[in-house]
Amino acid sequence: MAEKRKPNAADDIQKETERQFLERSGVAALYKDVLEKIIANRPEDPVAFLADYFDSVEENTSLIQRAEQIMKMTHHSRPLFQTNVRMAYDLLKKNKASKKLSGVNGTMFTQLLKALCRDIPSVVMQKLMQKFECHSHEAIPFDVFRSGVFTCCVLQDYVKLSEQLFGSLDLQKTGKANKALCDAVLEQLNTALGSNRNDTKRILESGYNLGVDGLYMALDTAMGRSHKNSSLQTCDQFLVEMCETFLSKVSVIK
């Protein structure tokens, strides 16, 4: 892209028109933009990143899809995520609700969150949306937008981790795990999260209870008790219960 112009070459006119074409059609600007974004975000699979990027700039994609693509450019633990969220918000702000009004409204916000949470069980998603108490007509300020998006991204990772956890609880790999074991894990998590923020000693205890040793002890006792009444639980049930715990820590915004 950055090759020098060669004057007095025989095909000068041809070269010039190609360059002009690339600039006129916006391709040159797009390449500059995508290259900057790749270098900044360092995606694990740049080829997939490129495909997503060009899918999102195609004319018929909605603002929501484009915002979603921006949000997914980097993991939410990376510092650049904050910048990307801002970028997505600014993009959505261009939406015009009516001739005079423009900005991010509840409908768009809900759509975006739903798009981000595609892999999360729908029951959980509904409950999460209830927490946001977001009406379709109301304007969404940036801080609400940011915390909503961030919650969804964290929840997504939380669901993935819960699935992995279920995988290790499912000892026979039958797709169903011993309910007693699942309950033990949940209980351990709930007690840990129940601790007061100011109580340092309890926080340390919680950390221990969720560690390998603490979890092992809890699972061991649960295993001992469960021999008589061992009912089974599917992954979905387990996920919903795990997410209940997560949702209990999500505070209502307004």
Binding site: Y31, R42, E44, P46, L50, A51, S77, D157, K160
Partner: protein
């Protein structure tokens, strides 16, 4: 948060290194070149739509059809995608149990890539066949797995050959006595130690080629796959080693584009019949279904044990180097087609 990011250090490398590692600039430049080329044919082309389609097919690995050899060879992703394309287009040959000569396989390859050199395909034949039997017919599954190893790891194999030759020379120089490993094979190996075809010490060979692994300049098989092959035999010949690479399920999985050998010819009939070759407007067109299912990962214990036993078998053949062994090896190549195809009668018809 323990979300695993195996390539965590991609954030600490320089931008140039990161872009180079993933061949980002190769694809950006190629996409522009393709865009300009297509614009000459069709001035009304929508550039954004074109680019969107370009990168979608790049991601899905459907981007190597009818491209020039220089492009197909340039990245590991392109090479692997081309091997998969070949499999998708021509697996009905394997299904029928047809055996083809290496020239015929080259013709098939050039249907997909007109300037694909004969040498790579010929080298593939040398993995499967002995030097004096290069005109033998080869089954589809033998060909495609050997072709995959030869094309995907070309630079690695060249290095391996150099190392093998230098080990052979060292072994035969009078200053370095031949190392005789202990064990049941001892007598046989000792008797044959002056025969060049008898190979090199497998462990010594492993130590010599191991430093090649995980170089960024070219693709190499995973070290575990090499261990699987070389830790289980006392001695190995170069082509025995290549044959074992081609038979290794774990190496095939690491490339990740072809199914395991047992499922190579599986697939619904509609899938198998849909790759139609037809002439349209004087231009050859191939239609094939877009298969979004990844290669089936189904490895049984018996299969994973096979590469090592295969290497052992190879070693014995080449160790003796007698005529009967050679003809056995020729036969082995044609036998395999009937082994894995369920219709034995068709393959014996072609013999």
């Amino acid at each position: 948060m323990s979300m695993s990011f195996s390539g965590e250090d991609r954030f600490s490398m320089t931008a140039e290194r990161y872009l180079g590692k993933h061949n980002v600039l190769v694809y950006l430049e190629d996409s522009i070149a393709q865009l300009l080329e297509h614009r000459e044919e069709n001035p009304k082309l929508n550039p954004i739509k074109f680019l969107s389609e370009y990168f979608d097919s790049l991601r899905d690995g459907n981007h190597t059809m009818f491209r020039e050899y220089a492009f197909i060879k340039v990245t590991p992703h392109n090479r692997a995608s081309f091997i998969r394309l070949f499999w998708k287009c021509f697996r009905q040959i394997g299904r029928k149990g047809d055996l083809l000569s290496i020239q015929e396989y080259h013709s098939l390859v050039t249907l997909l890539c007109p300037d694909f050199p004969y040498s790579t395909v010929q080298k593939t034949a040398r993995i499967i066949l002995l030097d004096d039997a290069l005109d033998c017919l080869i089954s589809f599954s033998d060909f495609i797995f050997a072709f995959q190893i030869q094309f995907y790891f070309e630079e690695f194999l060249d290095k391996c050959y150099e190392i093998y030759q230098s080990l052979l020379q060292t072994a035969h120089s009078p200053r370095n006595p031949v190392v005789v490993p202990s064990g049941a094979e001892e007598t046989r190996i000792h008797q044959n130690s002056h025969n060049p075809s008898d190979g090199v010490d497998a462990m010594q060979y492993f130590r010599a080629i191991y430093p090649l692994c995980d170089r960024s300049t070219f693709s190499t098989p995973p070290a575990d796959g090499l261990k699987e092959i070389l830790f289980n035999v006392p001695r190995v010949s170069f082509y025995g080693f290549l044959m074992a690479l081609a038979k290794s399920e774990s190496i095939n999985e690491s490339i990740g584009r072809l199914p395991a050998k047992a499922e190579l010819l599986d697939g619904s009939d509609s899938e198998l019949t849909s790759p139609i070759i037809r002439m349209k407007g004087g231009k050859l067109r191939l239609e094939h279904p877009v298969n979004h299912n990844g290669p089936a990962v189904n490895q049984t214990g018996a299969q994973s044990a096979s590469p090592s036993s295969a290497a052992g078998g190879e070693n014995k053949h080449t160790g003796k180097g007698s005529l009967s062994q050679r003809s056995r090896r020729k036969k082995e190549s044609s036998d395999e087609s009937s082994d894995e195809s369920d219709d034995d009668d068709t393959s014996s018809d072609t013999n």
